[in-house]
Structures are given as structure tokens and as C-alpha cells.
């Protein structure tokens, strides 16, 4: 029997992102008073029964014809979810035998994993820490220990409110009121940004091309100007059967016959077999861990000015080497760093500026002509590609961001080449299947990027996976902050990596082009971690066990 997940037992935002339908959010961190566990549990019970948004499908015209055994829930104005740090579970009185089943890295927490993650919480080489103080306060003050994360995402078109902002404020006021009444729970202060009580997040906005001047729409871009949110893994049980064939292409795992199938559920949800056909380490009882997962919460600051300055100055030299005008050189340089053009078209689909423009032209034409078949075919190309046709990295550099983050078929160790470099078999994604991450999150800062490094702006990312050590930490340490797997020595990711004084980024050219490769010289720091923690996202069942104090590990 194929797997059917109990969607209403899984918290929302795990299986699929709320996305631009919920473009405004707040992240609130709570502290639990361990001497008042009963009251803290009462708060969680209320949250569980009345507030938490699950993965259950929402009632809509699309879902009304689905069979009756599929639960259809009302779409909330504000999607609310909850997650716990290890110390949060300790504070909630979860039994020691359950706690010891949690993996080391989760018990240790993100702050103590800084050296592995190459984070800089204490300001190495700088006069002081640049992290938001909320992440560091707990080191000096036990009452500032981070225990619970509550995320609020407001719908773009709330039913009971005039705007997402109003819906969000209402939800926050409810939480705030509860925390004032309930002496066991307090909201922690110390977030960077306008209000220290929460981290404001929200999609960037841009002029709506189909509306009058001044009418804004939410865009999927981040502060550097890249369309974000492509390439999220697809696993068994994640989508309805009829949606799966379309979703899985380019997003699942690649088989030797070059077809795509969903990844194992156990890579992203606890309690299911993973890609090694094992059930990953998880706390007992199974009810406590199944349908739960882990989250690496990262506040990533973006030095928007440093990035645009570096691109424009380097593009002048880059353009001179390859006969490109400044505009084309800047766009190409940005694409070579990211692996996708700023609108998301992969370099593997359009390797040069000219081919990118041609692709955009076809896309615009299909939109104008309302040619749905052509449009679908073009959009599928944003996901459906491999690196087999680019073994020298001359199209998409080995060290570019997306090729590191998801190397697809390029690391298959069983594929050998003959003397002329021709591959003797089709590569699979075998070495990549256990290193995938679900990415959730939104930008923070203003609704449009500000040309500054000092303004509090960046992206708040939540990486979800069943094993933080094997998936999140491995990708961060080995693939983002190191380059050996991509024959790039110790070159880090050109966009999110740490850039030391000898940093560089190599843009390869093909041997028959007659042009030398281009090396980007000493890029400054573009992205900096400003805070974060590891969280456990419990299932609704586990949340009940925690909230009722009924976890029985025996």
C-alpha cells in the first residue's frame, strides 16, 4: 500500500510552504517557568486545541470533490505553529528517557554548534557580537532561556480582518495577553528590528505589472534580487496522488533511467523509513516522534550594499574579458554565483545572457498568447534539469549556490567516464538523497531592499529535516563552507559562505571557448548569521503528550 500521511496530525508548513498566500509573519520566542509546569501545559493545551494549523487540506473549490475520508479544514486567517528547543522540552517536564532519545546536535543547540556551522555568534575578529541579543541572553540569564517558538503567518486575504497586518496584530495580541495572564509563560525580548518582542517577516513587494502604477504585489524575491524558493525536495506522501507526477520532476530523486521519484518520507518526517531504509534515531515513544521533525531556524542578514557594489565593480572586469556590456555582465555574474538567473531560470536551461533573454521572450509570448501547454512546459524547465551536460562547470559553476545546495546527479560515485570524458552511464542523485532540506521562511526588513549593510534586513530561513546533523549541518559545513566535494578546494559558497581574506570564486569556461576562466577576487561578506536555534516540531499527538504531561517512554 502506498503511504497516506495523517495530514491533520502534522503541523502546517512542514509538507508545503504557506508561501505568498501567507506573506506576513511574526516569530515569537517564549520562556517557560519550570516551577509552573501545570500552567504552561494549560497554555499549550489551548494552543493545540484552538490555534495550531495542521497540514490538513483546506476547504476550497479544488478540494471539495475529493473523497470524504480526506479531512478538509477551514483556511485560517493566521496560521499558527509551535516548536520546542531541547531545553524547552526539559522545562515542559518531558521524561528523561524520552529526552535522551534526541540527537546530540539538537540537545546541544545551534549556538554550541557554531564552529561546525562556521557561525560567528561572539564576533570573532570583531569588537562585539552582531547576533540579536535574544539568542545570547540565555547564557547570562536562566530566565532568558529560549524554550518555545511560535510562528504566526497571516493570510494575504484574511476573512475577518481588513489586512494581513491587522490579522497578525490580533493574533500577536492574543498570544501577548495569554502570556501576561499565564505566569508560567513569558515572551522573550531582544529581537533585532522594530519590535524586540518578535521577529517580523514578510514577502518583498513590487509594482504589479497588470495593475495601475503604485499598486504593489507580493514578490517571491529576496533582498539581493533573486527569485527565491525554487527547488524544494518532494517526498512520498507529501502530495495528493494526482499532483505527485508533476511535483516530483526535478525535485524528488533521480533514478538511473533519468526518471524522478519521491524521496523517502523518513528524510523529512520522523517515524518513517528514510533513504537508507532505516527509521532515523528519534525519541521514544514512537507516538512522540512520528509526524514530527526538526527545524534549524536561521536569521541571515544580507549586506545588500556590499553585494551590489561587488557585483557592479567585478562585472566591469568580467564584461571586459567576455565582451559583455555592464548590464549583461552584472546579470551573468549574479547568475554564475547563484546558479539561476535573477528570475529563477537555471543556468542549465539558459547558460548565457542571450539564451536567458530568449527564454524570457518565449515565456512572455506564451503568457500573452495564453498558451497554457507552452507555459507549463517552460515552467517545468525551472525545476527539471541535471548537471550531466555540464561536467566541466562551464555552464553552471561547480561552486555556485544551487549546485552546492542540491548537486542533483553530479556526485554519483558509480558513474565513470572514458578517456575523452564521456560518461559511461547515466548518473543518479544517490549521494544527494540523504542531504536534502525543506526550506521555509520569508525575508525580513523593509518591503523593498535598502542599499545598505547596516539596515536590519535579510532572510529568515527555517530548514526542516529528520536529521539536523546529516542534512542541515552537513550541507552547511561541507557544501556551503567548504568546496572539496565540488573540486573547489576550500572555496565557500559565493553568496552565503564565509569569505575570508583569500576568498575567491571560480567561473569556469569550456576548453573550446578559447577564453580563460574568470576568478572573482576576494568577495566581501554578503550574508551573516544573526541568530538562530534548533527546534523540534512535534506532531499534534506529541503536542498533546507534552501538553497533558502524558509522555510514557516505557
Amino acid at each position: 500500500m502506498p503511504l497516506k500521511l495523517d495530514l491533520s496530525d502534522i503541523q502546517g508548513n512542514i509538507l508545503i510552504r504557506y508561501g505568498l498566500a501567507f506573506p506576513k509573519g511574526r516569530c515569537v520566542l517564549l520562556h517557560v517557568n519550570r516551577n509552573q509546569v501545570a500552567k504552561a501545559r494549560a497554555f499549550l493545551e489551548e494552543l493545540r486545541i484552538e490555534k495550531i494549523t495542521t497540514a490538513a487540506l483546506w476547504k476550497s473549490s479544488k478540494t471539495e470533490n475529493l473523497p470524504e475520508d480526506i479531512i478538509k479544514a477551514y483556511r485560517p486567517d493566521v496560521a499558527i505553529n509551535v516548536a520546542f528547543t531541547f531545553m524547552g522540552l526539559v522545562a515542559m517536564g518531558v521524561p528523561v528517557r524520552t529526552l535522551r532519545g534526541f540527537p546530540d546536535e539538537f540537545q546541544q543547540g545551534m549556538l554550541d554548534r557554531a564552529e561546525i556551522l562556521r557561525d560567528d555568534p561572539y564576533g570573532l575578529g570583531r569588537p562585539e557580537s552582531r547576533w540579536d541579543e535574544i539568542w545570547l541572553n540565555e547564557r547570562n540569564d536562566p530566565k532568558a532561556e529560549i524554550h518555545i517558538l511560535v510562528t504566526l503567518y497571516a493570510s494575504k486575504e484574511p476573512v475577518h480582518f481588513d489586512s494581513p497586518e491587522a490579522a497578525l496584530e490580533d493574533a500577536f495580541q492574543w498570544l501577548s495577553k495569554r502570556c501576561t495572564e499565564n505566569e508560567a509563560i513569558s515572551i522573550l525580548a531582544g529581537h533585532g528590528g522594530a519590535n524586540p518582542l518578535y521577529q517580523e517577516i514578510g514577502a518583498l513587494q513590487e509594482q504589479d505589472p497588470d495593475a495601475p502604477q503604485g499598486h504593489l504585489r507580493y514578490s517571491g524575491t529576496e533582498h539581493f534580487g533573486f527569485a527565491d524558493g525554487f527547488g524544494d525536495p518532494v517526498f512520498e506522501g507529501q502530495y495528493l496522488d494526482e499532483d505527485m507526477p508533476k511535483q516530483v520532476v526535478g525535485q524528488g530523486k533521480l533514478k538511473a533511467d533519468q526518471t524522478w521519484v519521491p524521496l523517502a518520507t523518513g528524510e523529512f518526517l520522523l517515524g518513517y523509513p528514510d533513504e537508507a531504509q532505516e527509521v532515523p534515531d528519534a525519541p521514544v515513544p514512537l507516538d512522540f516522534s512520528r509526524n514530527g521533525t526538526f527545524m534549524a531556524y536561521r536569521k541571515l542578514h544580507q549586506n545588500v550594499k556590499a553585494f551590489s557594489d561587488y557585483i557592479s565593480s567585478t562585472a566591469t572586469r568580467y564584461g571586459a574579458s567576455y565582451d559583455l556590456d555592464q548590464e549583461a555582465a552584472e546579470e551573468t555574474l549574479r547568475a554564475k554565483m547563484a546558479g539561476r538567473w535573477s528570475d529563477g531560470v537555471p543556468l542549465m536551461v539558459a547558460p548565457t545572457y542571450g539564451e536567458w533573454q530568449a527564454f524570457r521572450g518565449r515565456l512572455a509570448k506564451a503568457k500573452i498568447e495564453n498558451n497554457e501547454a507552452e507555459l507549463n512546459r517552460l515552467i517545468q524547465k525551472l525545476f527539471d534539469f541535471t548537471y550531466a551536460a555540464d561536467t566541466d562547470g562551464s555552464k553552471c559553476p561547480f561552486a555556485s549556490h544551487i549546485r552546492r545546495a542540491n548537486p542533483r546527479d553530479m556526485l554519483d560515485p558509480t558513474v565513470t567516464a572514458n578517456a575523452t570524458g564521456e560518461r559511461l552511464a547515466k548518473a543518479t542523485s544517490v549521494l544527494n538523497n540523504r542531504r536534502r532540506l525543506l526550506r521555509r521562511g520569508l525575508p525580513y526588513g523593509g518591503t523593498t531592499p535598502i542599499d545598505s549593510d547596516e539596515v536590519d534586513q535579510g532572510v529568515l530561513l527555517m530548514f526542516l529535516c529528520a536529521n539536523l546533523f546529516r542534512q542541515f549541518e552537513f550541507i552547511q559545513q561541507q557544501w556551503m563552507q567548504y568546496g572539496l566535494d565540488f573540486n573547489a578546494g576550500n572555496d565557500t559558497c559565493p553568496i552565503i559562505g564565509n569569505h575570508g581574506p583569500e576568498a575567491k570564486f571560480v567561473i569556469a569556461t569550456s576548453a573550446d571557448s578559447g577564453k580563460p576562466p574568470f576568478i572573482c577576487d576576494r568577495p566581501p561578506q554578503f550574508v551573516e548569521t544573526r541568530g538562530g536555534a534548533y527546534f523540534f516540531i512535534p506532531s499534534m499527538t506529541a503536542l498533546r503528550l507534552i501538553a497533558q504531561g502524558l509522555t510514557d517512554p516505557t
Partner: protein
């Protein structure tokens, strides 16, 4: 000889640690085993900077204090205290045989232990050959640059004479040396024909192309058998002669394969420590040179490369070069 291969000597030695107590601390008394572990733990290791050279001056000026880095022959060295053999559970038993003939599984079996705690010293160093003299020279050279540290370690070893520290250090290692049966050489060279051996070639030293007329003794026995056949002897005598010939041929092949296996590989080009350090140094400098010269005219590039050669002297391993035991991830 596996102790020596590819221009590297692979030393393995086990030296017993003194029994009894260390009175040096006066107020508190420790065992020598405790004391030697403390000395080893306090030795500085290599300088590794996980954050990369954040400050170029800091990186260049970093003091290399790992004592082995003072010896420019040692690639890798390691000292470990082996307290005892690891207990690996009860002897494997056939369940049916045990049921019929014992031993009674309820009774405990004896557990074996080492008579001493040992200091394991392994080192991989540049050497011309695998002779005893080469080893002695290396050990004396090591003492010359890190005698203080070695003295502090080996004074806790059985048989160390503080009155003759250098001589007794050398003697202890040489007496405690055991054969390295599996060497690890990071610099094996697989150049043209270097890894190939022929059964018919002369053994020992670098493989030569001249075929040596080694007549296998098996052929002689085969000839003997044929002679017997021709001379009218048949039946079991013939069979015996052929079997003898076969056994002799197998024995010859066995000895031949072993002797070829024992013959060391030649030294890989530029695999000595100084050359390796120079290569690392050049790699870092050349990358920066490449980056800086992008887009230059051929004339300017040629002039700059001449400056590069003059400044960094690629063919001179001695200087300028990278300090040993310093690296960046």
C-alpha cells in the same frame, strides 16, 4: 621491506611505560602512566585555523610550536598510550560442541591482559633506505631538535637512563621497534610502469627492464621427471617426480611473489617534506598571482611571471616556503 617504501621510513615502536609511581610531583603522587599521558596531552599540536587566515599578518606570524615540526624529515608522527588489549567478549563456541563436551558456559573464562602499558610511537619520515643506520640517524636528529620534549616523555618509560638520555631514547625505540606491516604513503607515484612488476624481472631495488635469467628450480625437477620417463621408469615413480616438480614450482612462485612484494617502490618525485611544503606554498601564491593577473596583456603577464619566479623561486624547496605544521582549512 614494509618499514621502508617509496622513499619513506614507516617507524612503529612499542615502548613499555614504567610501573610504580612518579615522585616528581612531590606533594601528589601519580603513576607513570598518568604522568606520561599528561605530558603527551600538553604537547602543542599543529596550527590549524578553521576560520582561514582572517588576518594575513596573524597567519604568517603564527608561531609553530609543535615539536615535531622542528624536524624537516617527519611527515606525520603520533604517540599513543596503550593501556591494555581491548576485551572482545567470550571465545566463540560451537553451541552443539559446548553442549556435549563443555566448557560449561556458566563458568567465566580467563581474560587476558598486556604485561605492561605501552607507549606507541609511529612516525613517517623521509629516508634514503630502510637500514638500521638510517633509523638511528633519524632518531638522533629528532633528539637534537626536540630532546627536551622527548626526555619529558621517555623518562616515564621502562629502561630510560636519565644519565644518558639520547642514547637510551635511541636504544628504547630500536629495541621496541616492530615491523610496520601496512604503511600509508600519501605520495605514491603511479607514473608510467612504476607500479608494474614482472615475475621474470630481477627483484630488489628499482625495477629494471633487463630480464634476469632466473631458472626456476621447478624446471629442473620437470627435466628430472622427463629424464625418468625416457629412461624407462614408469608408474608411481613418474607420478612422484611430476608432483615434486609441481610442488617445487609452486614454492618458487610463492617465494618470488613475496620477494617482489617486499621490494620497495621508488621514491615519488618531490615527495620529501620540504618539497611538499614548497608545493603548498606555491599553490597559495600562484592562485593569488593568477587572480591578480586576469585580463593582462601577454607582455605584462610575462613580466609579472618573471617577478613571480624571482620572488617565490619554485625550484628552491628551502625558501621561501610554508612553515611546517601550519595549515588552513
Amino acid at each position: 621491506m614494509p618499514n621502508f617504501d617509496g622513499g619513506h621510513y614507516f617507524l612503529t615502536a612499542l615502548v613499555p611505560v614504567r610501573k610504580g609511581k612518579d615522585l616528581a610531583g612531590k606533594d601528589r603522587i601519580f603513576s607513570h602512566v598518568h604522568a606520561i599521558k599528561e605530558v603527551l596531552a600538553s604537547l602543542p599540536t599543529e596550527n590549524q585555523n578553521p576560520y582561514g587566515p582572517l588576518d594575513a599578518n596573524l597567519a604568517e606570524g603564527m608561531l609553530t610550536t609543535a615539536p615535531f615540526s622542528r624536524d624537516l624529515r617527519t611527515h606525520l608522527a603520533r604517540m599513543v598510550v596503550i593501556d591494555d588489549v581491548a576485551y572482545n567478549g567470550r571465545q566463540h563456541q560451537d553451541a552443539i560442541r559446548t553442549a556435549l563436551r563443555g566448557p560449561n558456559p556458566v563458568l567465566t573464562e580467563p581474560v587476558d591482559h598486556l604485561p605492561w602499558t605501552y607507549l606507541l610511537f609511529v612516525s613517517d619520515f623521509d629516508a634514503a633506505d630502510g637500514s638500521q643506520a638510517t633509523l638511528t640517524t633519524y632518531l638522533r636528529g629528532l633528539w637534537a631538535v626536540m630532546g627536551d620534549e622527548l626526555g619529558a616523555i621517555f623518562e616515564h618509560c621502562h629502561g630510560f637512563d636519565p644519565a644518558k638520555p639520547e642514547a637510551s631514547f635511541v636504544t628504547l625505540i630500536e629495541k621496541g621497534q616492530i615491523e610496520t606491516t601496512m604503511s600509508f604513503n600519501d605520495y605514491y607515484w603511479t607514473g608510467q610502469g612504476q607500479g608494474e612488476r614482472s615475475l621474470w624481472q630481477g627483484a630488489g631495488g628499482p625495477v629494471s627492464r633487463t630480464r634476469t635469467a632466473v631458472l626456476p628450480p621447478g624446471l629442473a625437477f620437470l627435466a628430472l621427471g622427463l629424464l625418468a620417463f625416457w629412461s624407462g621408469l614408469r608408474g608411481w615413480l613418474l607420478l612422484l617426480a611430476l608432483l615434486l616438480a609441481l610442488a617445487a614450482a609452486i614454492y618458487w612462485l610463492y617465494r618470488r611473489v613475496l620477494s617482489l612484494g617486499f621490494a620497495p617502490f621508488p621514491t615519488a618525485p618531490r615527495s620529501d617534506l620540504s618539497s611538499v611544503l614548497k608545493a603548498l606554498y606555491l599553490q597559495r601564491r600562484f592562485i593569488r598571482f593568477m587572480v591578480a593577473q586576469q585580463g593582462q596583456s601577454p607582455e605584462a603577464l610575462k613580466a609579472a611571471f618573471a617577478d613571480f619566479l624571482a620572488e617565490h623561486r619554485p625550484h628552491d624547496p628551502s625558501a621561501p616556503t610554508q612553515k611546517p605544521a601550519t595549515y588552513f582549512s
